[in-house]
């Protein structure tokens, strides 16, 4: 029993969890017909349910999971994979139909029109009644949390943002607040709003498909599932006091200390590589950082335009292409920074704390 718990604790370390999840996602997108079948779903969901029930016997796990505010997130842990599986299964079926030239499931009924009254209105009514029942049942079972009166001088450890912002709070581990708290969230919103304008692929409008929109779906799924939902779940269940990592079965002990000694890029190069002291002027000191960032945001789009994204460049045109690549690079910067942190304990690529400008 102990061995399994330790193994799961080991597995749920952010380094492994995120890499595994991304790999799993891309492999499943590569072979969707294998992953998104009814049988796979039955196995996965019964496995998750079993895992949850068995873990409930562990006191520490129960303590965190049964906290009233965390119950909806456990619900989301089941809902989001279910709907991912469901939409993918529909996409796989539609792709097979397209391949065989058969009409799409949606097409069969798209021509027929039905009267809104009674059909749509009646189903909506039933849906509303069912939802009210669920809400009342849920409220009867779980009392809403009310802790000690607010005390600005006694900060609990850990102090967590509301659960839907825990993704951003998790990003704080790797980026400075101005990036993780302001720039990235606005990029997420801008990125979402830009999707319709940079996705010129006419196909896939109004029906589930994967083959016809492979690129957009995989980018969106990576962004939404791994970088948002997974980080929310990670932030809720696996982050304890001092925002240090705690496995699902570990007791949240205030005194747990993790060896967190991170080094800036400038220190790596000047001190470790060149053996010199750090220069005084911040601009000179961070010159390598600046070069890296500029190269990342300017050189890569140009190179890609010539090489693998050549098709995009031609279809999208310069403006759409550059916004798309910029947004893509911004999204990719999180996993890249994570990897740099895990491998090289890299703290800042550009580190000018005097002006709060750290990347």
């Amino acid at each position: 029993m102990e061995f399994i718990k330790d193994f799961i604790n080991f597995l749920s370390d952010p380094k492994i969890l995120i890499v595994l999840a991304s790999a799993l996602l891309f492999v499943s997108l590569r072979y969707p017909h294998k992953f998104y079948t009814d049988r796979a779903a039955a196995i996965v969901f019964s496995g998750m349910a079993l895992f949850l029930v068995l873990s409930m016997f562990d006191a520490d796990f129960r303590l965190i999971v049964s906290k009233p505010d965390n119950v909806p997130i456990v619900g989301m842990l089941f809902l989001v994979p279910f709907f991912t599986w469901f939409s993918m299964r529909e996409a796989v079926r539609n792709d097979k139909r397209l391949a065989d030239g058969k009409p799409l499931t949606e097409q069969e009924e798209t021509a027929e029109k039905v009267l809104t009254w009674p059909d749509l209105v009646y189903t909506e009514l039933i849906c509303m009644v069912v939802l009210t029942v669920v809400l009342i049942g849920w409220s009867l079972l779980l009392p809403a949390p009310i802790e000690e009166p607010a005390n600005p001088s006694a900060s609990p450890n850990p102090s967590k943002a509301p659960w839907y912002f825990l993704g951003l709070q998790e990003m704080l581990v790797y980026f400075d607040p101005w990036l993780a708290g302001v720039v990235f969230p606005s990029l997420i919103i801008v990125g979402l709003m830009a999707i319709p304008y940079i996705d010129t692929n006419p196909k896939g409008n109004g029906y589930y498909t994967l083959k016809e929109r492979k690129w957009e779906i995989s980018v969106f799924l990576f962004g939404f599932l791994v970088l948002w939902i997974l980080l929310v779940i990670l932030g809720t269940f696996l982050r304890g006091p001092n925002w240090s990592f705690f496995g699902p079965y570990e007791y949240w002990d205030l005194h747990k200390l993790e060896a967190l000694v991170n080094v800036n890029l400038s220190e790596y190069i000047w001190v470790k590589a060149l053996g010199m002291g750090l220069p005084g002027n911040p601009l000179i000191r961070e010159i390598f950082g600046f070069i890296a960032i500029l190269a990342y945001f300017l050189a890569i789009p140009a190179v890609l335009a010539k090489t693998s994204f050549k098709r995009f460049y031609n279809t999208l045109g310069a403006a759409r292409y550059h916004t798309m690549v910029f947004l893509l690079l911004a999204m990719a910067s999180l996993p890249i920074k994570m990897v740099l942190r895990w491998l090289f304990n890299l703290k800042y690529i550009v580190g000018i704390p005097e002006y709060f400008f750290n990347i």
């Binding site: 499931t105 949606e106 027929e112 849906c127």
Partner: protein
């Protein structure tokens, strides 16, 4: 003079259910309210849809594929319904909750302890969590079905703004119980505003915005201060969040929802293969 017995029979017969039903339905009051009456014909089924201010949200006839649960997951409907539930329960809670430091916490305790139907608070809170999840799933479905593609791009953007508004609604609501969970969640959340580039006093570029050597952006005049109405989460923040949560954000969200529903109809109803 008709004798008593048949007058009684006449009265009883008058009281028979169908008769009463007909009697009511023919009354002027009833007809003034329900113009169309019981929709037992296609024509009436269409008229009832057009006639009702709520139902005319939907078109009179709708594509079968568009309303398949398999296709839409009904997420949009659920979100809107949850929004209505939250408005209703929120209104009830406003009867008992006073957003001042003195009473906020103890009013929430009162809701738990002795206010009749104090369970409204639970429904409000779990409804809010459910709404956030359903909004994400709705976006997820719309993306997976590619329903953002033209002609629905603008509607997708309105949706994104509505998503952000939902998160803000939940964020402002989170502070109101004024317990440790609330104040520290908001402190962490609003801590990010401190680091806004140029507008946050700990953000990059804030030092540049100075009038001579007077810093325009300081900890008493930056984005966080604007958000909280003070340097830390205090009574001003509670009041400000209360007003945003009860009036500001719901109005804007309602307004955008109207646009959102309208554009669904205008951009060709529920998306489907062309």
């Amino acid at each position: 003079m008709p004798n008593l017995k048949d007058r009684l029979r006449e009265g009883l017969e008058f009281l028979s259910p169908s008769n009463v039903g007909k009697y009511i339905q023919e009354s002027q009051i009833y007809r003034s309210i329900f113009r169309v009456g019981v929709p037992d014909s296609d024509r009436k089924r269409m008229l009832v849809m057009l006639g009702s201010v709520f139902l005319h949200l939907h078109p009179v006839k709708v594509r079968k594929s568009g309303i398949r649960m398999r296709y839409t997951w009904c997420m949009g409907g659920i979100t809107f319904f949850l929004f209505l539930v939250l408005t209703f329960t929120g209104l009830l809670l406003m009867f008992y909750y006073r957003p001042t430091l003195e009473y906020a916490y103890v009013d929430i305790i009162d809701l738990r302890e002795q206010v009749p139907l104090g369970i409204m608070r639970e429904i409000h809170r779990w409804g809010a969590h459910a709404m956030v999840i359903s909004v994400w799933l709705h976006m997820y479905r719309v993306f997976m079905t590619g329903s953002y593609k033209p002609p629905r791009e603008f509607n997708w953007n309105v949706g994104v703004i509505l998503l952000v508004l939902t998160l803000l609604l939940s964020f402002t609501g989170y502070l109101l119980p004024w317990d440790q969970l609330a104040i520290w969640a908001i402190t962490v959340g609003s801590g990010m505003a401190r680091a806004t580039p140029f507008l946050g006093h700990e953000g990059p570029g804030a030092a540049l915005l100075t009038l001579g050597d007077i810093p325009l952006v300081s900890n008493t005049s930056d984005a966080r201060f604007a958000l909280l109405g003070g340097r830390f989460v205090g009574e001003a923040a509670l009041l400000r969040f209360y007003v945003l949560h009860c009036v500001g954000l719901p109005l804007v969200a309602g307004f955008l929802m109207a646009i959102h529903f309208w554009r669904i109809r205008r951009d060709g109803g529920i998306s489907g293969p062309v």
